[in-house]
């Protein structure tokens, strides 16, 4: 089977997001960008499925600015076989909505015919948690979100999902879209030889128009502001003071 893995380029998770002074968004000029951590986990899982002999090819896709090439080179160095870059904007501050991303990915899926699409469950920038679900709706494929375990059989993927009460296991018919959670695996680092090899792997560049997808925006971002900040409080001297504060708070 073929596996498709969409990877998003986002502000690195170790970097604190700064709101621009004019309230127009987050400042992304000259900051460290990386692959969305959840997408890294999705890609790692695809590589493990392939290493077990259950997949022949892994295609990484990224949608956004030209620089997403770097993210795709990382994906190729980790173990993707080839990459597709959809250049959809020339401004890194222009976040493409999950609905449009789903439309683009659906068009690619219809062309490439993967049996499985492995997505990160959410992007750590817009925190929408929506692309996988929208994509499976567009394709009318089965959906399994928040996976912490994936077992690939011929026509079925068995997915254990992290849900609010604990864990839920479901069988999803192939082709399926699966979104992954943090505990699925620990992604590998790309080795130096693999980084070198990745430079020669195919990376195709296309536009949304090539796929017949229209760029739309349904949610207009009117304003971006800092959250109400919390003042640091007091450091207490001993346990008795702490007990007193806890009792005051819970009214005991």
């Amino acid at each position: 089977m073929k596996i498709l893995v969409p990877v998003k380029r986002v502000l690195d998770y170790n970097v604190k997001a700064r709101v621009k002074a004019d309230g127009s968004g987050i400042d992304l000029a000259n900051v460290k960008m990386s692959m969305n951590p959840f997408d890294e986990i999705a890609l790692e899982e695809a590589i493990r499925i392939k290493e077990k002999g259950n997949a022949e090819e892994i295609i990484a896709v990224s949608i956004g600015v030209q620089q997403n090439q770097e993210t795709l080179r990382t994906a190729l160095a980790m173990g993707a076989d080839r990459a597709i870059l959809v250049v959809a904007t020339d401004d890194v501050h222009n976040d493409i909505e999950p609905l449009t991303v789903a439309n683009i990915l659906a068009a690619i899926a219809l062309k490439e015919g993967p049996s499985l699409i492995l997505c990160g469950k959410q992007a750590i920038d817009n925190d929408f948690n929506a692309t996988a679900q929208m994509l499976s709706a567009k394709l009318k494929w089965s959906q399994a979100t928040f996976a912490s375990e994936i077992e690939v059989n011929k026509d079925i993927v068995r997915v254990t999902r992290e849900v609010d009460g604990g864990l839920q296991t479901i069988d999803a018919k192939v082709p399926a879209v699966v979104s992954v959670d943090l505990r699925l695996n620990e992604p590998r680092y790309a080795s130096l030889p693999n980084i070198m090899k990745a430079k020669r792997k195919p990376l195709e560049e296309i536009s949304p128009a090539d796929l017949g997808v229209e760029m739309t925006q349904r949610l207009k971002v009117i304003k971006t502001k800092e959250p109400d900040s919390r003042e640091a409080g007091v450091i207490l001297e001993n346990i008795d003071q702490l007990v007193e504060k806890i009792q005051e708070t819970v009214g005991g």
Partner: protein, 308 residues
């Protein structure tokens, strides 16, 4: 305007707090109808009917909805949903699974994790793990909204809505339920508890986590955990608080052996009072804590438990 709320029901059991707070958010725009879809609806629908501002409860009793699989909703309810201008669901694993799929089917955007309803088309939602708050305006015909329930109060149970039976006649041929591993305990639910005691990597082991649980039980609290504690197997996944876990806003949040990474803060910084116990005085958790104690948790926690 015609507003629908998807009640969260798992195997006949209403998630009352989540549903009530979602009704509360939706009711900022007007009276609502609530869809009660499950394998057993009698208890759940009666509870929903009492929620203030609910006009009608649409009761859809069918085994198809026992396990809240996304396809069961999206394949069968599109005609019903299309007739509303707004559809709300809690931003729990239930709502996050189902609502964006419905959005995809309707070709509209989802407005996830709404923390404030400003008007019928304008909403606030946190982004970047809560490091920024965005105001967004939707141009879609049907607005699909998942609600960050910790930002809303439950509605009073003063209503008496009508119950209306509805039916569906489709199947979910895409996914099949296999099993649930649901942890049950007598503690309050994490997302609605007044007090939460959470442990992090500093707690060190599953056995040691008992001291966190001991203090929680003394305080009648729910137990939470950092991702590091869950990943290390000290605590089950459904205890995780944070950007990718649960969002809580109790009256008191006690963070024990938790450093205070932004992803953890995203899930608890709206708590009324935050107490932190950490042996490292530089730990970022102290920057958001109202009260901090710099000490060894193994000494402090059992002693607090004794003295309370």
């Amino acid at each position: 305007m015609k507003i629908l709320v998807l009640a969260e029901i798992n195997d006949g059991e209403l998630a009352e707090d989540q549903t009530s707070k979602t009704v509360s958010a939706a009711a900022k725009l007007g009276k609502v109808e609530v869809l009660c879809a499950s394998n057993q609806c009698s208890d759940a629908s009666k509870k929903i009917a009492k929620m203030e501002n609910v006009e009608n409860v649409l009761v859809l009793e069918d085994d198809l909805f026992a396990q809240s699989l996304a396809e069961s909703y999206s394949e069968t309810l599109m005609d019903t949903i299309r007739s509303y201008s707004h559809v709300f669901a809690p931003s729990s694993s239930f709502g996050k699974n189902i609502l964006p799929r419905i959005a995809g089917m309707l070709d509209v955007m989802i407005i996830s994790d709404v923390s404030k309803v400003i008007s019928e088309d304008t909403f606030e939602r946190p982004v970047y793990a809560g490091n920024a708050i965005q105001t967004v305006q939707s141009i879609d015909k049907v607005k699909l909204i998942s609600v960050r329930t910790s930002n809303f109060d439950a509605v009073p149970l003063t209503g008496s809505a009508n119950l209306k039976k509805i039916e569906c006649n489709t199947k979910n041929s895409l996914t099949t339920f296999i099993e649930n591993k649901i942890q049950t305990n007598d503690r309050p639910e994490l997302t609605s508890a007044k007090v939460v005691v959470s442990g992090g990597r500093g707690v060190g082991s599953k056995e040691n986590f008992e001291i966190i649980e001991g203090l929680a039980d003394k305080l009648g609290a729910a137990v939470g955990a950092s991702r590091a504690a869950v990943d290390s197997g000290f605590a089950p996944n459904d205890w995780q608080v944070g950007q990718t876990g649960k969002v809580v806003a109790p009256d008191l949040y006690v963070a024990v052996g938790i450093s205070g990474a932004i992803q953890h803060l995203a899930g608890m910084k709206d708590s009324k009072v935050i107490v932190a116990i950490n042996k490292d005085e530089e730990a970022p958790i102290f920057q958001v804590a109202d009260f901090g104690l710099v000490d060894d948790l193994f000494k402090v926690v059992p002693e607090i438990e004794k003295k309370i």
